[in-house]
Symmetry: C2
Subunit: 326 residues, 2 copies
Amino acid sequence: MPRILVVPVGSTPDVAPLHALADVEVRGPEDAGLPDALARADGLVAWDGVHPALERAWALADPRRLRWVHTSSAGPDRLLFPALRAHPCVLTCSRGVLDTDIAEYVLAGVLAVLKDLPGTVRRQTEHRWEHRTTRSLAGTRALVVGAGSIGTRVGQVFAALGVAVDGVVRTPRPATAPFGGLFGPGDLARVAGDYDHLLVTAPLSEATRGLVDHRVVDALRPGAVVVNVGRGPVVDEDALLRALRAGRLGGVVLDVWTREPLPAGSPWWDEPGAVVSPHLAGDAAGFRERLEALLHEQVRRFVTRAELLHVVDKEHGYAITPTVSA
Amino acid sequence: MPRILVVPVGSTPDVAPLHALADVEVRGPEDAGLPDALARADGLVAWDGVHPALERAWALADPRRLRWVHTSSAGPDRLLFPALRAHPCVLTCSRGVLDTDIAEYVLAGVLAVLKDLPGTVRRQTEHRWEHRTTRSLAGTRALVVGAGSIGTRVGQVFAALGVAVDGVVRTPRPATAPFGGLFGPGDLARVAGDYDHLLVTAPLSEATRGLVDHRVVDALRPGAVVVNVGRGPVVDEDALLRALRAGRLGGVVLDVWTREPLPAGSPWWDEPGAVVSPHLAGDAAGFRERLEALLHEQVRRFVTRAELLHVVDKEHGYAITPTVSA
C-alpha cells in the first residue's frame, strides 16, 4: 500500500476511511520524526494551513519517493516553496469546495458597505436612531480580479443581482458569462476607475503579488468598494488604507491579510470604513467535511492511479483544471 | 385647473414641474390653514410620512371635492384612518419604487447574520482576530410573509442565490416563480418551522396586525433568521425578543418597528443577536427622485383623467395593481 503522510496545522482530518486504501501516518509539522516520515512517503497532505517547519523538514528529508502533494486550501501558494516547485511531484489543491460560500461572503461584504450595516451596528451600541440614505447594488459595475473558480462564482452571484461584471485574468480571452469583458493584469490600473466594486479573488503568485498596487487604488472611483478574499499580498494594504482615510472609497472588506493573524497593533482595526475579518469567508458549517470528502476522493484516485483533481500549475500558482460550470 | 394639496412631513417634494398641470399648494400638517386647503382640494398628497394632524384636519375639512389621495409610501396603512377609508376618494401609493432596494436590504440582513458580520464589527473594535465557522445561504429555505410587489422581489433575489422560496398571501393561489408554494395566513404557524429564514414584507392591515405572533415565533426552527421590512406591528416584537434571548434564533434584523423611532430605552438596542435599523431599507440614493417621478406621473394622469397607478384596496390595505414582473 502507498504511504500517505498527513501534516495537520489548524485541525486534523478524519483519516479513518483511508486506512483501507493506504498506509496513513499523521504527524505535526514540528514533530521530530517528520523528515523521516516524509522521506518514505508516496503522498503528502498539508491540512488546514502550511507550517514553515514543513519546508525545513522537506530539506532534511529529500523526499525522492514522493509523487503527490495535496492541500486543503483553495490557494496552494504556501506550499510553493522552491524545493517543492522544483520537485517532480504532482501538487493538487482544494479548488471549488469553498467557491459558493466565498462568493456569498463577498456579496455580504459589498451589501454591508452599500447598506452601511457596520454604521448601523455602531449606532445601535449608542442607542441611536439615525436615518441615512443607502446605496443600490443593482445597476452597478463590478470588476473581479482573478476570474478562476472562485472569481467566476463571485461574478455569477453579482450578475444574478443586476450587476454588470467584468474580470481580470492572467491571459485575456473572449469573455463568457458571467463576465461581460476580461482584461489582463496590465489593463488593471487603466480600467479600475470604471467600476463601483473591485473584488479580489486572485491566488498569490509572482504575477499577482502587489497586483492591486497604489496606481490601481488611486484610480478607483469615489465611493468604490474593495473586497479581498484572495490573498493579502495581492493588495497594497497601505495604499488602500491611505485612500480609505482620505475619504476616497466607500468601504473596504478584507478577509485575507499580508500578515495573518492581523497584528493587534494594526491601524486597520480602528478604521471605521473597513470590515476586518479573520480569513473565514469560505468557512461555512460543513466546510471541513467537504474538504475531507475531496481528500478521500483524491487518495482513492492516487491509490488507483486515476486522474487527480485540481492539479496545480506550479509556475502560475493555481489549479489548471477547466472551470467547473455552475 | 384641479387643486392639489401637498402635505410634507419628513421632506418636501419638488412640485415645480406640476405647476403647469395643476394649482399646487404645499402646507405642513400642523398648518392652521390645512383644513381650509383640504376642503377645496381635488387631490391630496401625503409626502414622506403621515402626521396625526392630517386626520384631525380631515375631520374639520369635510373634504367633499377630494377625488384622489396619494402617498409616497409603499404601504398606505397610516392613511387608512376611518374617515379616509369611508370617503369615496381613490387612494394610491408608491408601490414598486423601493422594491429592489428593500430586497437587497433583506438579503444584506440575512447574509450579515449568516456570515456574522455584526460579530466581526464588534470583535474589530476589540482588535480581536477570532476565526468562526459561518453559514451558507445557498441550499436554505425562505418563507416570505407578504408576497406582493416587495415580497416577490425579495423572493426573486433569494431564489437567484439558490434559496428555495415559499410565500404567505392573503388568499392562497397556485404558486408562480419565484415562489415554490403559497400559503394562507392561517397556515403560518404550522409551516414556519420548515424554513431557515422568515422574511416579513407584509403591509399593515387588520389581517396582518400581529400575524407573526408568539405561536409563529415559537414554531421557528433553531437558528432561524427573521427579517422585518414590512411594518412593525405585523410582528410580535416581545415574542421575538424572548426567542432571541433564549438562544432559539440565529439572528433578527428589524428595520420597522411598532414604535418609530425606536425608544432609546428599548431592550432591542442592547441585543447582540439583533440588527436594529431605522426604517431605511428602501431608501437608497435617488429614492426621493424616483418617488417624485411617480408623483409627477400620477398628477399627469389625474389631471388628464387617465388611469391612476397603484390604486389601494382600502379594505385590505395594499395596492391591487397586478404584480409587475421583474
